[in-house]
Symmetry: C2
Subunit: 314 residues, 2 copies
């Protein structure tokens, strides 16, 4: 039996798993990243976790390779960290796959964590059998991953997929992260929804210093509260405008929605789909489907490992 070793590296924890060709996890554990101790320490945590996972494989089982998904911008060709922010201090420049290959003498792959989720969805999830789709990851920010002609689009430096920094208002507020105006992240991410919520509550003249987070706003929206309808209307229209633009650009087969949207569930998905449909021309509208992400909380580590099977023949 062959297994791929998957590693999902985030700012707070690192997730290790042995995963078979069908995407089933046979062994899994999470440890703290201890990112504040620097890149060398994080890499030593990675090496230790991979080593432990290989040693715990069932007797007679073979480790075929190692696949890493990491926060930050990863250059897939070189397996090196192109850029990582404050989440992983000092991580920029780390030659992840070179270190893994030297230590374990196995094929190794490294990509951005949202790209790894796209691999999981492509191999085992909502994007199965599809050649062109986008994964939209709604969280505190908005991440994205693009699959075209069956391959993840990485771009010149491995930074592709930043759907959150698509502008939906060129006269809108300046985005502190990228300098563009009216990035969709400012309206439809968790922090964006909370921001708009504060603004609308303040405009409503409420003297109560009440600052709901995006989950509370989504819940209030489901219960029909008026302020929340105003907030979610803005979020849905902004997100639909960005996705509609992408659909016109790339004419995909699917838009796969993942991340913290689950608390708003089917009503959110349906409202968003209606709005996207009203913003797309007939041909591209007929081609795409809006789908919820299929692979759950383990998508990161399953997709990280999945790279081993996806790329083993080049």
């Amino acid at each position: 039996m062959e297994y791929a070793i998957g590693v999902d590296i985030g700012g707070t924890k690192i997730h290790f798993a042995a995963v078979d060709r069908e995407g089933r996890i046979v062994d899994s554990h999470r440890v703290p990243s201890e990112a504040q101790l620097g890149a060398d320490h994080v890499m030593s945590v990675v090496l230790k976790g991979v080593d432990a996972t290989i040693k715990r494989l069932p007797s007679g089982a073979i480790a075929t390779g190692i696949g890493v998904g990491s926060a930050g911008q990863i250059n897939f060709e070189t397996g090196t960290v192109e850029y990582a922010g404050s989440q992983l201090p000092g991580w920029t420049g780390t030659p992840i796959t070179r270190i893994l290959k030297e230590k374990f003498h196995l094929p190794a792959y490294a990509d951005n964590d949202v790209n790894a989720i796209a691999v999981a969805e492509q191999m085992y999830g909502a994007g199965r059998g599809m050649n062109s789709f986008i994964v939209v990851a709604l969280g505190t920010g908005i991440g994205g991953a693009i699959v075209e002609a069956g391959r993840v689009v990485r771009g010149a430096l491995g930074c592709a997929g930043e759907l959150g920094h698509v502008s939906v208002d060129f006269n809108g507020p300046t985005c502190e992260n990228c300098g563009n105006n009216g990035c969709v992240e400012l309206y439809a991410s968790g922090s964006g929804i909370a921001r708009i919520g504060r603004k609308i509550i303040a405009e409503g003249g409420g003297a109560v210093p009440w600052q709901p987070d995006s989950k509370e706003i989504a819940q209030a929206w489901l219960q029909g509260e008026r302020y929340a309808s105003q907030v979610m209307d803005i979020a849905i229209r902004a997100l639909a405008a960005a996705i509609a633009g992408y659909i016109h650009m790339c004419n995909p087969q699917a838009v796969i929605l993942g991340g913290g949207v689950s608390e708003a569930g089917a009503p959110f998905l349906n409202a968003l789909d209606q709005e996207i449909k009203s913003r797309t021309s007939a041909a591209v509208r007929s081609a795409y489907r809006l789908l919820p992400a299929y692979v759950g909380n383990d998508a990161g580590v399953i997709g990280a490992a999945g790279q081993v099977w996806l790329y083993e023949n080049g």
Copy 2:
């Protein structure tokens, strides 16, 4: 000597040429499309033009294949017209490559006309040696073509590349073509610039019924006229916001600007580049260059023919 036969099909005329591997035209002629006479007639014009071009090849020369670029949405896989609007009535559904193969017994390829221009830029122009770039074609509308991993991105139905229908204001005016709000085409295309010009002149209280077109506005901008600065400021910011969004999505090596922008020349290119740079994060900003299209008025037919060389080995 081998030649590819290129055919560039537009709503008003069809351009034929015999093109060598280096992109040099040895024989070229244009005929009226007579599109109002219907698809069968247009196809008969195409067959006649290809036949004449092959017959006029230098003695001993070989026709290696036929490449077509056509207005409308073309399904490259099937070589069939997915959708064409009023520019080519009845053209939808025409199996272009099947008809060409039956008649001439040569390999045949068909793609959208802006995708053909991207092939020309990739093989002989500003995108030479690049794996990832976009062509932005500024005309009455805004067209686009995306190259990723060295191949034109076509999408599920061959409709990819519609940069003009990327929204830059989700609360903006409704686009009659696609239903989205605030499509960049409404601000930065030839018709968009003229529209904004009329609005700004009217707001200025001018009683003169003066309606400059986009070329006049671009000229007035170069001469420092105040109303034109306001118009072009909007056009440049809107276009930069859309391109910046694309750069965050796809992290390309280049943005190649073609079409009717030439009348505003280097000042326009420089102003746009400044604006794009201010709207992109450091990593993706360092990776891209804004370049003027290199291949001139013959780019359509050269790229159409170029498909024969680009795809001859699959």
